[in-house]
Symmetry: C2
Subunit: 320 residues, 2 copies
């Protein structure tokens, strides 16, 4: 059992990463207004958030620039328009998606407002992920490896993958529950495994959750109690499908006095409610089903976009 | 750490109680149509639910009958109109609220379709709760003691209260997180305490949660993993304020083959969606705030009914 003192106190090493523009960008095709992004940046600073992920740096060879907002591509110039030289304690992160990125799109850290490159990869793409991590580390960035969809991978293979990436200069390895399939008891076991390898190689562990079973926050604080240090959250839980661990839940829970919940509430009121009217995300039964069935949410997203409400029919489709 | 075998297998002693009409009745003043109640009864039977709580048996001296639906009072006659002689495996429960009940309203079990009387009490009402439990047990009912709002009680006092009630013929003592204030780590500690006393006196332990922090399901399965046997849930989480642990989450999680999730989805689609359009419940920031502040949700319910969205102002009101 975890100890009460850690619920009343705090661990200095815990860091919070705001992934609203990245995972939330999957909901609105990255069309965030500059006004929104500036207010979010200011809010994160006031709230004491540690990292702000501004989107993907996606390959323009793979994705048509005219079909997405600029935060799908996150150029250094666009980031600078928001953060200037970013003389704050808030670090800037971007995500590279393996198979959909170009190494040449990443300048030397010294020329970039970006602090951290997060490398999202499936387990069968490890060599390319490692190449990306080594390139970004050599250029001077902090790096993370976000190993996706592990709820469908075998433990032996996960073990090989995290041991492979631990040979690189990567700073942090993320537990990613892409399908919202895990419950806290399983997260405890996964965290124990990652922590064991992480301690051996002196790597931090992070967690990124989805809310298919209303367990995104519960899984995040379970991992946090188990020693996981980098915690992803998004405002109002904005993220693909059922969304993510909500920033308002997480910052209300963490006891480090550097975190302030008030600006979070104000930002949600001023900016997120409007977006919530226009875009669809969050817990609903179709996501619960794909989560409990340990499946990719794509069919549930289609069900949502088609404005279907025949849950029982959808359940038959997903299980036949 | 709990063992994986219990996540894949099941414990025969676990029972699920549907509290939709009782806690959900607090949302719509107990105005459920007979059509709805009959369909819910049928669904619970098909889904393998163990108990169906049909409402409160409230005192007509305290509450004006003309201002509530009949399930606030749950007469044996009204229950019989739905369940007949109830020749099924589904047991019928009703709740008595200490200070708002009349012993004379409870006939002998042999004359009643009710199987279980649940006694809801605050910690300062124990003698009256014990009187009610002893009366109901003597009349032949199964009984539970639902000790409310324990997140604001001191452990020493809770200990006295549960030891007092363990001297009665009560069958089960409930952990009730009235304010949605607990996180799973705290539930684990509370469950350990209740289980310890329960084992000494051969009493079952149950849990009833609220979803203020999106932890109702997480807290329920935490307690379940800790050995708690009676699990409350409501369809679509319908219940006061932020609502309760959702039946669809819980039955999808439990592995006993007697439970069937399909009728649950069908009932939600056919009946709950319409109610959700008319009534307000479920997670929102005002409930998160009262939950994290360990306060009664009444101010958050007023905020909701007033259709306010100025969360940051509400936060100031709640903390000044």
């Amino acid at each position: 059992m975890k100890v009460l003192s850690e619920l009343m106190g705090y661990r200095e090493s815990i860091k919070v990463l705001d992934a609203t523009m990245r995972d939330g960008g999957l909901v609105n095709d990255f069309y965030f207004s500059d006004d929104f992004v500036k207010a979010l940046y200011k809010t994160n600073i006031e709230a004491g958030v540690d990292y702000m992920e501004m989107g993907y740096r996606a390959s323009k060879k793979v994705f048509d620039e005219s079909k997405f907002g600029k935060w799908k591509f996150c150029s250094d110039d666009h980031i600078r328009e928001i953060v200037g030289e970013n003389n704050t304690d808030l670090k800037i992160a971007i995500m590279a998606d393996i198979g959909r990125h170009e190494l040449d799109d990443f300048d030397q850290k010294v020329n970039s407002p970006v602090d951290m490159v997060r490398v999202a990869t499936y387990i069968h793409q490890m060599p390319e992920a490692i190449q990306m991590i080594e390139d970004a580390a050599k250029k001077g960035y902090e790096t993370t490896c976000n190993l996706m969809a592990i709820s469908t991978s075998q433990k032996e293979n996960i073990d090989v993958a995290i041991n492979m990436v631990c040979q690189t200069p990567v700073d942090c390895i993320y537990i990613v529950d892409s399908f919202g399939a895990f419950c806290p008891e399983q997260i405890a076991r996964v965290a124990e495994h990652y922590m064991e390898v992480g301690e051996k190689y002196n790597k931090k562990i992070g967690i990124h959750t989805h809310n298919n079973q209303q367990l995104a926050f519960a899984n995040t604080i379970e991992a946090c109690g188990d020693g996981v240090d980098l915690l992803d959250a998004t405002y109002l839980g904005m993220g693909r499908g059922a969304g993510n661990c909500a920033m308002e839940l997480l910052l209300g829970f963490l006891k480090n006095p550097k975190y302030n919940i008030f600006p979070v509430y104000r930002f949600i009121e001023d900016y997120m409610l409007e977006i919530k009217e226009q875009c669809k995300w969050g817990y609903d039964l179709q996501y619960l089903m794909t989560g409990q069935l340990n499946q990719h949410p794509r069919m549930a997203i289609k069900f949502t976009n088609d404005e279907r409400k025949d849950y029982s029919e959808f359940y038959k489709e997903m299980t036949e």
